[in-house]
Symmetry: C2
Subunit: 263 residues, 2 copies
DNA sequence: CGTACTATTGAGCGCTCTCAAAACCAGTGG
DNA sequence: CCACTGGTTTTGAGAGCGCTCAATAGTACG
């Protein structure tokens, strides 16, 4: 059975009223279940998993899902909208750790210490589901395939961070922004949205912070990409007019390191 | 009951013969069990966990634990020596993802795809235990606290990568090397080894690759740190003579971002 | 004792940051 | 309607950090 296509996601101007029905439906389509369904999770088990999900009322720009140091109780799944996670240094400096789009899970890094090690802030009017981790753990102890999916989920997060590590360690500013845009594009596509036409819910400053670049550099790169015909940009509205070129830019291997060998 | 102190670890000149007895003993002290013991894993469960651990014969410099693309079968725990993990681009370029010391687990990023997404190469004569993941999963389905520890282990890895992300995104070359040295120092201390006097099993090239720096920069930084009295360095032998200064360097917040605020 | 590799050191350049200012936008109140 | 204010984004000019290129020194190994 196909889940109904989601109708309201990030790519919408703010202020749109999100119906509770659409949230309820969307909740059934969360990452966890998407992973479980094709892998032999029995329908009744899906029900059990579904039953522990809490649907919270819509959150608004600036609301916190949790803050660093909070006791860890639940994982969160973005249903519509977008959320950023970030670490704070005592002096008030921020490091953006990620932008989370519909279907993505937040809070996996809090399990070990049983406390949140970063904060999560809503970027635009968003719907978020809560998965009480204690109950999820109990459930995963009853359902083998759920346990397996949990392992996979955590593992996937590790592999993903590894890619980011590579990005920040090796790539140029240009490559970083291209990778960022491509990542957004692919994630939108996965959720049935346009991979070439979307709105950014985060500021240039936040993008720069995330990518380890200065705001000015991000701005200049948008301008350059625009001039090179890679995309059209109007404030937060982005249209990728040459996706292939962006993909080529990302997959291109930096020239260095090609000659040298390592022991 | 205390586990016997490990006698042979990385900080030893190569060529030393590692007795099988010491490996067997060391194996009981693996991260997983260290995590489980204080948290109420019953002795008989420890036995069961211990029973699935495979002790392989010592590996030598250049040996692979696995290569990118290999079918995922087992996690690996370094018992003595050290292992590096790295991703390979088709053209032969490498990105070092981590250096793994005794007690540390390798392969967590392979669960999702059921295939290894990076390669693991032994840096010096090392002993490594193998944890067949299928059996571990079965066992964790029987032992609730083991399942919980597995979740914690995976979560910890995510939190750790997050820190690396911050390192590569925000910090200067100087900070990166200082953080690297401090990390090694703390990990050695945790295993009962000198936190201020150790040997590096990896080359400058590999350090640079890991930290996103050129070899030359790493070399220059070692020289500078030496001149500033932070450490003594003789080839691969490092003595941290001013650990406090290094810690101060790492915890120091970059000046930028202190004035500006983010929305 | 050469050969190959690793590490160090120096010189110069380029990318990205910093600093500074202007343009643009949204909301508020006169 | 417009001025005012606080914010974000853009654009420009200059400087510095870390990279590249290149040469030398030191080390391991056959």
């Amino acid at each position: 059975m196909n889940t109904p296509a989601l109708t309201t996601l990030t790519a919408l101007p703010e202020g749109k009223i999100i119906s509770f029905e659409s949230i309820r439906v969307a909740c059934r389509n969360c990452t966890l279940m998407t992973l479980c369904l094709p892998l032999g999770l029995a329908p009744e088990d899906v029900e059990r998993l579904d039953s522990i999900v809490r649907r919270n009322r819509p959150l608004h720009r600036g609301d916190y899902l949790f803050q660093s140091g909070d006791r860890f109780r639940s994982l969160f799944v973005v249903k519509t909208g977008s959320v950023k996670t970030f670490a704070q240094s005592p002096e008030g400096g921020e490091q953006v750790l990620g932008f989370h789009l519909p279907g993505e899970i937040i809070g996996l890094d809090a399990i070990e210490k049983d406390a949140h090690v970063c904060s999560a802030k809503v970027l635009e009017t968003s719907a978020v589901c809560e998965l009480p981790f204690g109950r999820l753990e109990e459930l995963s102890f009853t359902i083998p395939s759920l346990q397996h999916q949990m392992y996979r989920l955590l593992s996937k997060e590790i592999a993903h961070e590894t890619e980011m590590l590579l990005l920040l360690g090796k790539k140029s500013a240009e490559d970083r922004l291209a990778t960022f845009l491509l990542s957004l594009s692919q994630r939108f596509r996965k959720r049935g949205l346009s991979p070439t036409d979307f709105y950014l819910s985060m500021s240039r400053h936040e993008i720069g912070n995330y990518l380890g670049l200065a705001v000015e550099t991000v701005s200049r790169l948008f301008t350059r990409f625009h001039d090179e015909g890679l995309l059209k940009v109007d404030r937060k509205h982005i249209q990728l007019t040459n996706l292939d070129a962006i993909e080529a830019m990302v997959s291109r291997v930096p020239v260095e390191e090609c000659r040298r060998r390592m022991s």
